[in-house]
C-alpha cells in the first residue's frame, strides 16, 4: 500500500542531505567534543560551525544559540530558567490558553512554586490580542511567553507586536517557534524576542535535538547542571551528529522557504476549499489567512476525529486528530476549546499537515476518499440523522 503522509506537524522525514552530513559524523567524527586531542577538537569545530549556521539563519549571534534535546526542553528551560533567575523582580508570567503543553504544563508547575500565571484567551480564530498582553502586564510581570504558530490550528500570532509591548515594559519575551520555524521567515532581532525555542524534527532534521535562542544579557538559570558544555549553560555530552544535522536542516528549510511556503499554501487552500464545499457540516479551525502554510484543521460534526483517522490509516493516509502529543488522550484539545468549540465539535476534528514533499496527487487522493469515509461513519453515528 502506498503511504501518504499528512502529519508533517507531528514530525517530518529527514532530508536526505541532512542524513548525508550526519552519517560521517557518526562514523568518523565520534570523538567527545570536550576531549582536548584533535579528534575531539574536530567534533568541537563541527558544533561551532553548526552554531554559526543556526545563528546566521535566525539573525542571531552564535553565542546566543544553545543546543538542547528538543523543543520541549527549550520551552522548559526558557520558562523555568528565567522565572527562577528573576524572581527577585516579580512572580508574574503571561501566556496564552493555546500554548503547547511544553509551555502550559511548565507554567502550571511554576504556579505550584509561588508564581502567578495569566492565561490569555484567544478569539474564535485562535488569535491573541496584543492589547490583552499589554493590559495584563503589571509591576510583578517578569516573563511573557506566546507561541509563534499553533501546532493544532496553525494560527500565527502577532509576535512582533507582542515583542514591542514586552520591550516597552521591560519584560522578557519568549516564543515557542517550534512550528513556525521553517515555514515563516524569522529574524530574532526584528521580532524583539528575548528567547525562542526551535526543534529539529519539525524541519526535516533529526529527533532529539533543538535549540534555545537566548538574547545576550538575558538572566536565566540552568535547567541541566553538570559538565561545562554549551558555555556552562547546558550540560551533557553534545550530540554532535544531531547538531550538525540540525544546522543543515535549518539551512535547507530557510533556503527554500518562500518557494515551499507558496507551494504549501496553494495545496492547503485547495484542500480547505474542497473539504468545505464537498462535505456538510464541517468548519475550518484557525485563521483563514494568518495560518501556517501547511496546516489544515477541520471539525466534522457527529463523528469522532479518531475514527476518521483510523479509517484513513487503513488506506495509507497518515493524519492527526489533534496534536500528536495529546492525541493519545481522550480529552478534547484545549486549543479547540479555547477557540470556543463545544466538546462534541472538538471531538470531531482532524488535522492534515502538508510538507515539502506533499503532491497534488496525494491531496486529491485524500479529497477523493474523505467524503465517503465521513458518510460511512456518520451513518453509524447515533448523533447523526440525515
Amino acid at each position: 500500500m502506498q503511504r501518504r503522509y499528512f502529519d508533517y506537524a507531528a514530525t517530518t522525514p529527514i532530508d536526505k542531505r541532512v542524513l548525508e552530513v550526519m552519517i560521517p559524523q557518526i562514523e568518523n567524527n565520534f570523538g567527545n567534543p570536550s576531549s582536548v586531542y584533535s579528534f575531539g577538537r574536530e567534533a568541537r569545530k563541527s558544533i561551532d560551525e553548526s552554531r554559526d549556521t543556526v545563528a546566521r539563519v535566525l539573525n542571531a549571534e552564535p553565542k546566543e544559540i544553545f543546543f538542547t534535546s528538543g523543543g520541549t526542553e527549550a520551552d522548559n528551560w526558557a520558562i523555568i530558567g528565567t522565572a527562577f533567575a528573576n524572581k527577585n523582580k516579580g512572580n508574574h508570567i503571561i501566556t496564552t490558553s493555546i500554548e503547547h503543553h511544553a509551555v502550559l504544563h511548565t507554567c502550571k508547575y511554576l504556579e505550584k512554586h509561588g508564581f502567578e500565571v495569566s492565561y490569555l484567551p484567544v478569539d474564535e480564530y485562535g488569535m491573541v490580542d496584543p492589547e490583552d498582553v499589554r493590559n495584563s502586564i503589571k509591576e510583578s510581570t517578569i516573563l511573557i511567553t506566546v507561541m509563534y504558530a499553533n501546532n493544532e490550528i496553525g494560527t500565527i500570532q502577532p509576535i512582533k507586536k507582542i515583542g514591542e509591548i514586552a520591550r516597552e515594559n521591560d519584560v522578557y519575551f519568549h516564543t515557542d517557534a517550534v512550528q513556525a520555524f521553517g515555514s515563516i521567515e524569522i529574524d530574532v532581532k526584528d521580532l524583539n524576542v528575548d528567547m525562542m525555542s526551535i526543534s529539529g524534527h519539525k524541519i526535516y532534521g533529526p529527533k532529539g535535538i533543538g535549540a534555545l535562542y537566548i538574547r545576550k544579557g538575558v538572566k536565566i538559570d540552568n535547567l541541566i547542571h553538570g559538565g561545562g558544555q554549551e558555555r556552562k549553560k547546558r550540560a551533557g555530552t553534545e550530540n554532535t551528529p544531531a547538531i550538525v544535522g540540525f544546522a543543515k536542516a535549518c539551512e535547507l528549510v530557510t533556503e527554500n522557504l518562500k518557494e515551499s511556503a507558496e507551494k504549501a499554501i496553494e495545496l492547503r487552500d485547495y484542500m480547505i476549499k474542497n473539504i468545505l464545499e464537498n462535505i456538510d457540516e464541517v468548519r475550518l479551525n484557525g485563521h483563514p489567512t494568518e495560518r501556517l502554510p501547511g496546516n489544515v484543521n477541520v471539525s466534522i460534526r457527529y463523528i469522532e476525529g479518531e475514527s476518521i483517522l483510523l479509517s484513513l490509516d487503513l488506506i495509507g493516509i497518515a493524519a492527526s486528530s489533534g496534536s500528536a502529543c495529546t492525541s493519545g488522550a481522550l480529552d478534547p484539545s484545549h486549543v479547540l476549546l479555547a477557540i470556543g468549540l463545544s466538546h462534541e465539535i472538538a471531538h470531531g476534528s482532524l488535522r492534515f499537515s502538508i510538507g515539502k514533499d506533499t503532491t497534488r496527487e496525494e491531496v486529491d487522493f485524500v479529497l477523493e476518499k474523505l467524503p465517503a469515509i465521513i458518510q460511512r461513519l456518520r451513518d453509524m453515528s447515533p448523533l447523526y440523522n440525515s
Binding site: 503511504r3 503522509y5 502529519d7 507531528a10 517530518t12 522525514p13 529527514i14 550526519m22 552519517i23 562514523e27 565520534f30 570523538g31 567527545n32 570536550s34 576531549s35 582536548v36 586531542y37 584533535s38 579528534f39 575531539g40 534535546s69 528538543g70 523543543g71 520541549t72 526542553e73 503547547h100 503543553h101 511544553a102 509551555v103 504544563h105 511548565t106 502550571k108 533529526p206 529527533k207 535547567l223 541541566i224 547542571h225 553538570g226 559538565g227 561545562g228 558544555q229 550540560a235 551533557g236 555530552t237 550530540n239 554532535t240 551528529p241 483517522l309 483510523l310 490509516d313 497518515a318 493524519a319 492527526s320 486528530s321 496534536s323 500528536a324 502529543c325 495529546t326 492525541s327 493519545g328
Partner: protein
C-alpha cells in the same frame, strides 16, 4: 596508520549495525510515537522494544525504565526529582567527592538553595568510608547518590554494602547510583543493592550520543524535570529520539558481556605489566582488583605534564585522556585525583586509558612504546631546564 582509540570512557564509536538501523528510522520509519496512525505505532513499538531490552538486562519491569537525552539529564532529573519530592520530610542529601559533575553540580545547586549537603571523602583507592556514610545518614536524609564505577580511575563502589547501610539507617532515604560507566559492561544488581534509581547513557557503550535513560523503582512517583506532552508516562516529555533508541536496541542485543570482560581483563593485565617495566616513576591508580573496572586504567607519571604527553601520543594517532573529558578542558587538576591523594609531583602526569571491545594487545604494545618514548623525551627536556 590506523587510529588507536583508548578513550572509550569519554565516548565510543557507534556499532555499524546500529548506524544502519538509525538511518532506516530517519529515512523511512520516521513517525512520531504519539501519532495514532500506523507510522506512529511503528515508532512506538521501536521505543518499547528498547525499553524491554533494557529492563531485561537490569531484571526490572519495563515501566521502570525512562529515556532521557543522556546521562547528564538522567542524573539531574533523578536527583532533582528525589529532592523535590521529599524536601518536606528532610533536608540532607549525601554524595561523594568523586562523582561526575552532572551529579556534583546538582548537589552544589541544592547546597546554594540551603540544603544540608554532605560530600563524603574517599580513601586512596577512591572508596567511600562506610562508617562515615553511616554516621552521615540521619533522620533528615532524603537521598544518597553514589556512582558505581568512577569515570577517571575505574574504582567500583560497593553498592550492595552502601545500599544496606542506607536502608538500615533510614527507610525514607532514596538511593541513587550513576551507572553511566558500568551499564552494559558490568552486572548491575538493582535488587541486592537496594537501588531506587540509576542512570545510564548510550554513547559510552557504542550507542548514539544524546540518548540515555534512568531506572526508577515502581511507585516512587518522582516529579519530572521536563514537562509537556506527557511522553514516557508523563515523566519525561518531548518527542522521543526514535532513531537513536532503535539503534540502541541493536547495540544492546549485540553485547557479549562475557567476551568483553575477558578481553578487558587481559588488556588491563597486559597494559599494567608492560607499563611498569617500560617507564619508571609511575603509579597505577587502577590496580587489577575486583573492585576496579577492567576497562579503565589511570596512571600517574612523575614530572610529566599529562597534557603534553597526550598531545605527543595524539601525533601518533593514539588517543587517551588526562582525566574525564568533561573536566579535561578546565585548567585545573581533577577533583577525583585530588580526592584520592595522588602525590603532588605525580598528579599532573595522570593519563587515563579506557578500552572498548575493539581494542587489541597489539595496540597496547604500540601505546606503551610511544608512552615510554615520549615520557623520556619530556622528562629529559624538563630536567634540562
Amino acid at each position: 596508520m590506523s587510529r588507536i582509540y583508548f578513550d572509550n570512557s569519554a565516548t565510543t564509536c557507534v556499532d555499524d549495525e546500529a548506524i544502519d538501523i538509525m538511518t532506516m528510522y530517519h529515512k523511512d520509519l520516521y513517525g512520531n510515537p504519539s501519532s495514532l496512525h500506523r507510522m506512529g505505532v511503528e515508532a512506538e513499538k521501536a521505543v518499547e522494544e528498547c525499553r524491554n531490552k533494557i529492563a531485561e538486562m537490569l531484571s526490572v519491569k519495563s515501566k521502570e525504565i525512562y529515556f532521557t537525552s543522556g546521562g547528564t539529564e538522567g542524573n539531574n532529573m533523578l536527583i532533582r526529582g528525589a529532592v523535590e519530592k521529599n524536601k518536606r520530610i528532610g533536608n540532607r542529601i549525601i554524595t561523594s567527592k568523586i562523582e561526575h559533575p552532572s551529579v556534583l553540580e546538582v548537589f552544589r545547586y541544592y547546597e546554594s538553595q540551603g540544603l544540608d549537603v554532605i560530600y563524603l571523602d574517599v580513601d586512596e583507592y577512591g572508596k567511600i568510608d562506610f562508617k562515615k556514610l553511616e554516621e552521615s545518614i540521619n533522620g533528615d536524609t532524603i537521598l544518597v547518590s553514589i556512582m558505581m564505577i568512577n569515570n577517571e580511575t575505574g574504582a567500583i563502589q560497593d553498592l550492595k554494602r552502601i545500599g544496606e547501610l542506607v536502608k538500615k539507617n533510614s527507610k525514607k532515604t532514596l538511593f541513587h547510583s550513576d551507572c553511566v560507566q558500568s551499564f552494559g559492561k558490568s552486572v548491575i544488581d538493582i535488587n541486592s543493592c537496594n537501588l531506587d534509581m540509576l542512570t545510564f547513557s548510550a554513547h559510552k557503550l557504542h550507542g548514539p550520543k544524546g540518548l540515555g535513560g534512568v531506572y526508577i523503582r515502581q511507585g516512587l512517583n518522582l516529579p519530572p524535570l521536563i514537562l509537556g506532552g506527557g511522553q514516557e508516562s508523563g515523566f519525561r516529555s518531548g518527542t522521543e529520539n526514535v532513531a537513536s533508541i532503535a539503534g540502541f536496541t541493536k547495540v544492546l542485543q549485540n553485547i557479549d558481556m562475557k567476551s568483553n570482560t575477558d578481553r578487558f581483563v587481559s588488556l588491563k593485565k597486559y597494559f599494567i605489566s608492560k607499563v611498569a617495566s617500560a617507564v619508571d616513576e609511575v603509579i597505577i591508580n587502577s590496580p587489577q582488583r575486583d573492585d576496579f573496572a577492567d576497562f579503565i586504567i589511570s596512571i600517574s607519571l612523575k614530572n610529566v605534564k599529562g597534557e603534553i604527553l597526550l598531545h605527543a601520543l595524539e601525533k601518533k594517532e593514539i588517543y587517551v585522556s588526562t582525566g574525564s573529558a568533561c573536566s579535561s578542558k578546565k585548567n585545573r587538576t581533577s577533583h577525583v585525583l585530588e580526592a584520592i591523594n595522588i602525590p603532588r609531583d605525580y598528579i599532573e602526569g595522570t593519563l587515563r586509558v579506557s578500552f572498548s571491545k575493539h581494542n587489541t594487545l597489539n595496540e597496547i604494545d604500540k601505546c606503551i612504546e610511544a608512552l615510554a618514548e615520549e615520557t623520556s623525551k619530556i622528562r629529559k627536556f624538563t630536567r634540562r631546564k
